[in-house]
Amino acid sequence: MAAVSIRDLRVHLGGQPVIDGLDLEVASGEFLVLLGPSGCGKSTLLHALAGLIDVAGGSVAFDGVDQTWASPRARNIGMVFQSYALYPTMTVAGNLSFGLRARGTARAEIAARVQRAASLLQLEPLLARKPAQLSGGQRQRVAIGRALVRDAGVYLLDEPLSNLDANLRAALRRELKLLHQRLGATMIYVTHDQIEALTLATRIAVLHQGRVQQLGTPGDVYARPANRFVAGFMGAPPMNFLEGRLAVSGGTPRFVAAGFELELRDYEFRAAAPVDGEPVVLGVRPEQLRIGAPGSWTSQVTLIEPMGNHQVVWFDCAGSGWSALSDSDAGPRVGARIALAVSSSPVSLFRADNGTRR
C-alpha cells in the first residue's frame, strides 16, 4: 500500500500535450476513480504512473520516494490494461505467474500465490486454458488476477469493466469493491462510466484537457461540481443549465432570467460576494425539480423518456431544454402543461465567462 503523489506532470504524445501540468495526491489505501471523456488522457496518465511512457516534466512519487525515472519493474505496480493484454500463448496459470517468474520468486511461493489469486477470482477451473478459450468476463478476471497476484504497492485499473454486459458489469463491480475492502490496497481506477465512479470511489478525480478539473468525494463532485464541465459530465440525464444574472436586493440574492426567477436562500458563494447584475449560469439537476408542486412556474412537456422505474420528462425552460424526473405511472403526458418548483437541496451557479463555480 503506497501513497501516490503526482506533481505538475506533463506528458506529450505525438508532439501534443496530453497531460498538461497535472497534480494529484492519492492517499494510501484509497480507491481513486479517474473519470473523464474518451481521449482525455486517462490511459496515458496510468501508463506514465507505471513508467511505460516517458514524461516531459513533473514528478511521480510513491510513499515519498521519487519514481519519475524508475523502470516499470522497480515501481512494483499491478495493472489491468484497457485491452487486458493477456499473453495469448500462455495458459491462465502462465499469465498469472509470468510476473512472479520474471522476479525470480520461489516455485512453491508462485504456486501458492497463483492458487490464492485463482480462488479469489474463481479462476481455478480455467487455469489450464489459453486466453482464446475464455469468455470476455473470464478474460477480465484473468487480467485482474495477473495484477493482484503480486503484492504491488499500487494497483492501476484501466476501464476493466467496459465491453462487458450490464449484469456481469454490475456483479464484477461489487466484486471489485469487496476486493478493495479485503486487500485495503491503493487503487487508481479509470472509467468513463459515472455509475462505476460513484459506487466504487472513495474519491473521484475528473480529468479534462490534461488536468484534474475536480477532486473530491463522489457526493461532493455530484452535488457541488467545480465547473460547468464537471457539472455537465456527471449525472444522467445531465444537469439543466440556464443563462441569467444575479439580482441582489433586500439581502437574499436571486437568479433572474427572462421569464424565470429563483431565490438563492442557502447558496454558499465561493470567493467574492455576489454582485448585482453579475452574469451567471444556473445549474439544476433533474431530480431537484418537482413536478406538480404548487409551482413557481409552468411549462409544456415536449418529450417523455420511460426508464422502467421512473421516467424523464423534457420541457422548455426560458429557451433551454430541461428535464425532470417523475413516477412511471403517475407522470404527465406530452403536450401537457406542468407546474414546476426547485426543491430545497442546493443548486449550482457558474460564472458565465469561464464556467467555474460561483
Binding site: 485491452s83 509470468f98 520474471a102
Partner: protein
Amino acid sequence: MSVTSLKSMDEIRLGQLFAWPSRLTLEAWRAAWRSACTGVACEGIRGGFWNSIAIVLPSTLIAIALGALNGYALAFWRARGASLLFGLLMLGAFIPVQVLMFPLVRLLGPLHLVGSLAGIVLVHVIFSMPIMTLIFRNHFAALPRELFLAARLDGGGFLRIFLQLMLPLAVPMLVVAAIMQATGVWNDYILGLVFAGREHLPMTVQLNNLVNTTTGAKLYNVDMAATLLTSLVPLAIYLLSGRWFVRGIAAGAMKG
C-alpha cells in the same frame, strides 16, 4: 522433364519429346546422384546435396534467429539510432547482391573466410539480414503494444520477453521466414560459387557443372534427373511447411 529423366538415352534420341517412355528406368537418376561428371570428378551431385544441406541449415537457423531478435529490438525497444538502423536495413534490402560481392570478398578474404563453410554461411546470413529484420519488425510492430507493456510491467527483461512471449507469438512468421531463407539459400548459385570454395560447392553449382560439361555425349536424361533432384528440396519444404501455418495466434489477448 520428369518423363525424360525416366527414359533411357536410346529412347531420347528418337526425338519424341512428349511420348511416354516405353520402359521406365531409374538409371538416369542413379547416375545423376552417384556417377555423373561434374567437371573433372565423376561422383554425381550427391556431394553437392550434402554440401547444400550443410550450408542451408546453419544459414537458415542463424538468419531467422538474428532477424527475429533484430526485429523485436527495433519494434519494441527504442534504442538510440534505431530508426537510422532501420532505414539502412530498408536500403540494404534493395541493393542487388552483385554490387556488394566484390567488397565482401575483399573484406572476408584477409579473414580466411572465403572458401570455407563458415564463410558461405556468414555471407548468406549477412545478405538475408535486411529482409529478415524487416519482416520480423513488421510482424512485432503489428502486435498490440500493450502486450509488450504488460510484460515490462510484470518485470520481464529484454531476453525473457523475447523468448517467452514474442517468439511463441512469431511462430507463423518463423515458418515463413524459414521457408524463404531455406529455399533462397538452396537455390543460390552465385554466392556459393564465389564464397563456398571447392570443398563446399552447393548442389546448384554442381548441377550447372554437370549440365555444362562438354566432354562426351550430352546425357539429357541424367541432366533432367539432376535438375529434378536439385529442386526436390524446395518442393519438399513447401509441401511439408503447410501444416505449420497457425492462424489467429494472438487470439484472446484483447478485449471483445
